[in-house]
Structures are given as structure tokens and as C-alpha cells.
Symmetry: C2
Subunit: 429 residues, 2 copies
């Protein structure tokens, strides 16, 4: 029974509860029992408190069928950079251990209003940057789940919850989704409120979600964003045009990951997609460097309070980022902003009439834990431009670990991205 | 002695302390004595606590001359939407009365690191929106100081502090600066970190500052932003080209305010500025409406936690904004985002080769308290486009209340705006 329930996707869970086949409490108990069994190996959770969950269930139990939301009774994991009024929020840093925010992050409140059970807080790297937390990849616990949304990706991959939320400033949704073999969705920049979420670099920070299907990912993101237009059906096959726009970053992709990617592209072409494959226009080639300049400059400013009051308790990783940012001149920052704006204004050159771009989600399989949380290179430019992107599980690497296919659309075209990703997901199945 | 000290500008204060003519404690005591005398009439302060200020002074006293920052000992007022680790922060709402943040807002930490004395928290409207706080205009206490940065503008105008910080999502720096007869500076969108500042609408929210000279405003903003390029000298007169680009919004400006504005333009022209005066291009005319659509849609999302947990404690003003935002469709929002992007990409059409744009800061003088915090119309479009802008005191209206001149530059050209504003300030003196 536990095994059966925890493997349901979110919408199947919601339907089963709505129809009275199971109660929210049954589902939560199944998830908690599964977590009890697996948490020792995976360590996806920063905070889990049965009493707080039971209080939520009591409130949900008082609701009549017609006042229930679309996620009524569905457990969700929350990355521990999102504030929660009923659980501590520490942002992956010892500085804030035991911190009790006076509110929910806006996106968390939207999930509660939709009936979701906020099951617990998932492990994040320190301030959503490089310093890894305790979480291990459920497919091979000697390997990283990726970061920074490590616990959320691992929890969904390991069937601890059907849904979890994370964020992306560089590649923090796409990379862990790919390494853990689940669906990750990062909407267009600015569409989900980050009120009550700790900032790493404000012009790059974006909410992200994890699920085991595109449809589930779209549903939870649409609730967080208040968007009725993100839950459309799959595209029709004859409508899909795809562009593979290579940059110098692609030279870093491992041979195995490139082979898997090329096979996927061939498969989509045979399935009817119109695929064009060329070099990215020149102005898009240096964008990974531009992204890093903006990241470091902004991060050095976002963490001014921690730098002033708690410097000794920051990791070497985040301290180096802040020092790097403090060494960037205003002119270098403005040049980076100008380069981003130029590329954004010329976005049609990149898409060249296609609906979506495709790329490998990462350079390859999840590295060993001791090597860190993996290289974010393949998402830097797309995050910089605020493109909505989805990572789909897509094949395995030489060590048997998951690989991912990254799909992106123009900013604001999240609904179309979701429809196209549903079509691609069905072809990959 | 009190009168003399409190009338010094911030840089004169810093110099006097550095030279040993006065101590930081002398200056703070003078400010507090003046506040004691005037606060009953003006009510600019939400929180003032002598012990907390004394603790800051003790730390500053331990510093040697070569470790002191550029604002060493200078008192600053902080709008109560900025978190402070040593003072409560309530965001103008009873919901958060007594709230104790675990950090300083990033911009506040930068001020502390520069040696500023965080004197206290100034009154904000509820969540930096329309519902007025208790503050009155120091020039006539039957009139509004403007909002939402009401206490900060009034405190600087009334010589309670030489510097204060605020924010602007619609017109919340320019309008109160104009009504209170002080300098207000809202930098380009995204250049000062808003980490630890309560959000109203994230793609519009911008930090702002108040001072009694452009030079002081530029100095405090440059410290908050970590910018060495915002403190340049005044432009040379022959270099200044100015554009007066009228939109339909200008029909709302009162006759007296328009007369004062036209006189100022004539004065600048005679002083050597190259002024062109035409209608704004068509795409810029509907931007006030576009701004309001984005404001309402985003605000409805930012306040999801308060809407879920504390709805009955929100004012009618903010509740109406949230309901308005919830009624905006995703398509209407994306159309507004597209209209903003189109205008941003065509920004050269608006500037038409000029360095800066000029407009009246507000529709007229500060209204009576019972009429609210005044109309923000004249800043909506420029805030929407992320333009840096400065309001300079410029003449008086029929009731003898201050009027303001609003100057704006292209996004990212804050340094040039400051230089040009210094030149204009000197002409107006």
C-alpha cells in the first residue's frame, strides 16, 4: 500500500482523495513511512515535524468538497530558502539555524491555499550557492543529487513526495532534476513571486519546481504563479519546430551525454518535429561569462548583512563569490547588463523561428559527492535571458545515472513550453 | 548649537566629525533634541530607541580614523519596510507590529559598514502602498508629506536627519521629496539590493534616498549600491541636452505647477541647456496604465501570505489592489510586459538624443491630509521603465508649499543623471 501510494503522481493523488478512495492522512502517512525507510540513505530533509503536518491535515479535514483546492491533501516538499510560518527556515546556513519567519513565502502561501500539505523543508546548499548539504543522489548515494535544490530533487526522485519546489539562479532546478531523473521546470523570470525567499542574485533568481511528469510540474507552478494559462494539453506533433543552437559551452559536454542528446534529437525528428541545428549567433556565445559577472556582482550586494555581521560563519564558497563580486567594477557590471539586454532584444536570432530550443541539461551524469554539486554551465545563458525551461529525464550515462534534456522557450511563453514539453515527454516514454 | 548642527548637510557632518570639530555623539544628540521638539507636530518616526543608538555610537567610538567609513557618525532614517536586526520592522502594518527580523536589509548593512548611525525607523504607508501613516508635512501639518516614504521625506525636510532612505514602486520617493521640498533620488531599477525589504511589486520596486543636496543623495545611494561611479562632479553647462516629452498625463498637472515648470525650463535654457519640447512618441503614452496593470498583478502575488493568513487585518486600500490584481488575466499581464519591453527597446525615441528628460515631479502641491498621499501619475511611466530619476525642490505653489522638478536618464546612466542634476541644482539655487 505504501509503495503503491507514494508512486502515484500528484494529480492521481488529488483525484483519489477527491473521490474518497484515500484520505489526505493516508497519503501523508504513506509518504512519511517511506521517508522513514529511505531518509537515512538519501537525507533529503532539513526539517520534518509530524505535529505541524497533523495540524495542516486537521484544517484540511474541515473543508467541504466544494471549498477544496486542486492540490487538496497532496504533500509538497519546500526548499529551505522559502520562508514558512510554521517551520524553521535556515537557508542552508548555520547563521540562521532555528530562524522562525513571521510569514510564508508568497509561493508557499499559494500552495497552502490550493490545499497542499507542506510536508517539510528540503535540504538546500548554503544560500542556494555551491556549498553542498547532506543530501545524496537516490540512484547512487555515492553521487551528488546536484544543487542547489538538492533535497527537493532527491525527494521527488525517491518517491518521498510527488511534488517539491526549488529555485534557479544559475542551474539549480535543471541540474538536480537531470541528475536525479525527474522533471524540473523553471518558469520565465519574474512570473512567480519570490517574496519570502532568500535572494542570491535578484536579477537571476527564479522559482523552480520538481515533479515526475510535465503535467504535474505545470500544475504546481501554475498555482504558485496564479496562472490559468500554464496547464494546456500537449502540442500537436506537426506544430513543433525545434532549434539546437550550439555555443562554445557545448564543447564541455561529455561524449556520452552528447550521444544521448543526438539520439533524442533524431528520435524527435523521426516523430515529426522540424529540427534545425546550427551555431548560436555570435552575441549569444559569451553569455555564460556575462551571467557569472552579474551573479557575483549582485550576490556581493544581496549578502551585505551576512558579510557585515557574520563573516566568519560564511563558507569559503560564498565568501569567494562575494569577494569576486566586490572586485567587479560598476563599468564591468553595466557592460554585462548591456550584453544581456542586447541578447534579449535579439532573441529571435537565437530561436530563428523555432518554438523551443533544445540542449543537454548538464555536461553529463551526476559526479561523485566529493566532486561537488556539478557544473551549471548548460543553464547559465538561458537563466540569464530569463527563458522558461524544462528538464526531462532522457536516457542514462555510462554509470547508469540519469541524463536530462533541457527545453527552453521565449520569455513569457511558458504555456507553449509546457505544451511542447508534454509532446516531447510522450515521445521519450 | 542644535539648530546649527542639524542644518548641516551629511558631508559637512562627516567632515566635522573627521576633523574632530564635533563627535558623532554631539551630532546624534542634536538630532534627537530637535526630534524631541518637532516630532509631536510631524510624527515622522515609527521607532526611535536611544539605547540602540548609543550601542552603535559605542562601536563607532572604538574605530580609528583610518578604519572609518565615509558616513562615520552621520545619522540616517530608515523607512520601516527595510529590515533592521536591532529595531522592530513592521512594514506599516499592524500584522507585523513588533516583528524582529534576523538580519539587516542589505542596503542598511552597507550604510552601517560605511559608519552611518541608524537613528530609527521612519513611518511608511501600509506596505508602501496608499494607506497613510501618521506623518504630516513639516511645511504645513494640515497637509500630507506624500507617500509611501512619508517619514523619511518629512524627517529630512524638518532637519531631523540629514539623510534618510525610502523606496519607489510608483512614485514613493519622487512624490514625497517634492511635497516636502527635499532632494529625492531613485536609482535605475535593480542597482540597489532589496534583500530584506518588503516587496510591493517586484519588477517595479526600487530603493530611493532623501537628502538636502544632490551630492548628499548621490553619496548615500552610491554606498547602498556599492558604486564608485555615482559621485561625479556637476556637468559642464554646454554639455547638457534636455527633452521635455509630454504625455496625456500632463493634462492633469495644475496650472500653477505647469507655470512653475515652464519657468524652470526657460531658466535652464537661458543658462545654456539645449532644450527640446515635444509630445512623447505614441508607444509611451499608455504606459501609466501599463504600470498599474503590472503593479496590481504582481502585488496580488507578493501579498499571498498576508491574504491567506491575515486578510481581515489588511486595509481596504491594499485589499482592493490585491483584488484588482487577482482579476487581471495572465494575457493582460503578458500584454503589459510586452508593452513595457517594447518601450524599453525604443527608449532612444523618447530621449531623442537628449541626456535627460524633465517633467513636473507631481501634479501640484501637497494635498490636505484627508485627501490621501497625493497622485503618483507623473512618475508611473518612468518607474515602469526603470529610469533613474531625481526630484529637486523647484518653486512654490499658491499655498506656499514646495514643488519639484523631476529629472530622468536612461537606465544604468545614474552617474550622468547625478552630474546633470548637480548642474541644474546650481542653476535653481
Amino acid at each position: 500500500m505504501v509503495d503503491e501510494l507514494v508512486r502515484l503522481d500528484a494529480q492521481a493523488c488529488a483525484r483519489a482523495i477527491l473521490q474518497g478512495d484515500i484520505t489526505a492522512s493516508d497519503l501523508v502517512s504513506a509518504c512519511l513511512a517511506h521517508i522513514d525507510e529511505r531518509e537515512g540513505a538519501v537525507e533529503a530533509w532539513q526539517h520534518l515535524e509530524r505535529d505541524v503536518v497533523d495540524r495542516q491535515l486537521s484544517v484540511l479535514d474541515t473543508m467541504t468538497t466544494d471549498t477544496r483546492g486542486p492540490l487538496h491533501g497532496v504533500p509538497v516538499g519546500i526548499k529551505d530558502i522559502y520562508d514558512t510560518f510554521d517551520m524553521p527556515t535556515a537557508y542552508g546556513s548555520e547563521i540562521y539555524a532555528g530562524n522562525r519567519p513571521p510569514w510564508d513565502a508568497a509561493a508557499v502561501a499559494r500552495l497552502r491555499a490550493a490545499g497542499a500539505v507542506i510536508l517539510g523543508k528540503t535540504v538546500t546548499t548554503e544560500f542556494a550557492y555551491w556549498k553542498a548539504g547532506k543530501t545524496r543522489n537516490p540512484h547512487d548515494t555515492t553521487r551528488t543529487p546536484g544543487g542547489s535544490s538538492s533535497g527537493s530533487a532527491a525527494a521527488v526522485a525517491d518517491f518521498m513526495v510527488p511534488l517539491a519546489i526549488g529555485s534557479q539562479t544559475v542551474a539549480s532546478t535543471v541540474r538536480p532534476a537531470s541528475y536525479c531523473g525527474v522533471v524540473g521546470f523553471k518558469p520565465s523570470y519574474g512570473r512567480i513571486s519570490l517574496t519570502g525567499v532568500k535572494s542570491l542574485a535578484s536579477s537571476l533568481d527564479t522559482a523552480g519546481v520538481f515533479a515526475r511528469t510535465v503535467s504535474d510540474a505545470a500544475l504546481i507552478a501554475s498555482i504558485m504563479a496564479g496562472r490559468s494559462d500554464w496547464t494546456a494539453a500537449a502540442s500537436s506533433p506537426d506544430a513543433l519546430t525545434v532549434r539546437v543552437a550550439r555555443t562554445p559551452d557545448w564543447d564541455e559536454v561529455t561524449a556520452d551525454a552528447m550521444t544521448a542528446f543526438e539520439m533524442t534529437v533524431s528520435l524527435l525528428r523521426s516523430a515529426g518535429a522540424d529540427v534545425s541545428d546550427t551555431d548560436a549567433p555570435g552575441r549569444f556565445k559569451p553569455l555564460s561569462t556575462v551571467q557569472n559577472t552579474i551573479l557575483a556582482f549582485e550576490a556581493a550586494r544581496e549578502f551585505s548583512s551576512e558579510w557585515l555581521h557574520h563573516r566568519a560563519r560564511l563558507s569559503p564558497e560564498i565568501s569567494e563569490l562575494i569577494e569576486e563580486g566586490n572586485a567587479i567594477t560598476p563599468e564591468q557590471f553595466e557592460d554585462a547588463v548591456t550584453a544581456r539586454r542586447g541578447a534579449s532584444e535579439a532573441i529571435e536570432e537565437l530561436f530563428a523561428g523555432a518554438d523551443v530550443l533544445l540542449a543537454p541539461s548538464t555536461l553529463g551524469e551526476a559526479p561523485l559527492i566529493e566532486e561537488g554539486t556539478g557544473n551549471p554551465l548548460m543553464s547559465r545563458a538561458w537563466t540569464l535571458l530569463g527563458l522558461p525551461s524544462i528538464s526531462l529525464p532522457c536516457g542514462k550515462g555510462p554509470a547508469g545515472m540519469p541524463l536530462g534534456l533541457q527545453i527552453a522557450a521565449r520569455p513569457g511563453r511558458d504555456g507553449e513550453l509546457i505544451s511542447d514539453a508534454k509532446w516531447i515527454e510522450a515521445r521519450l516514454a
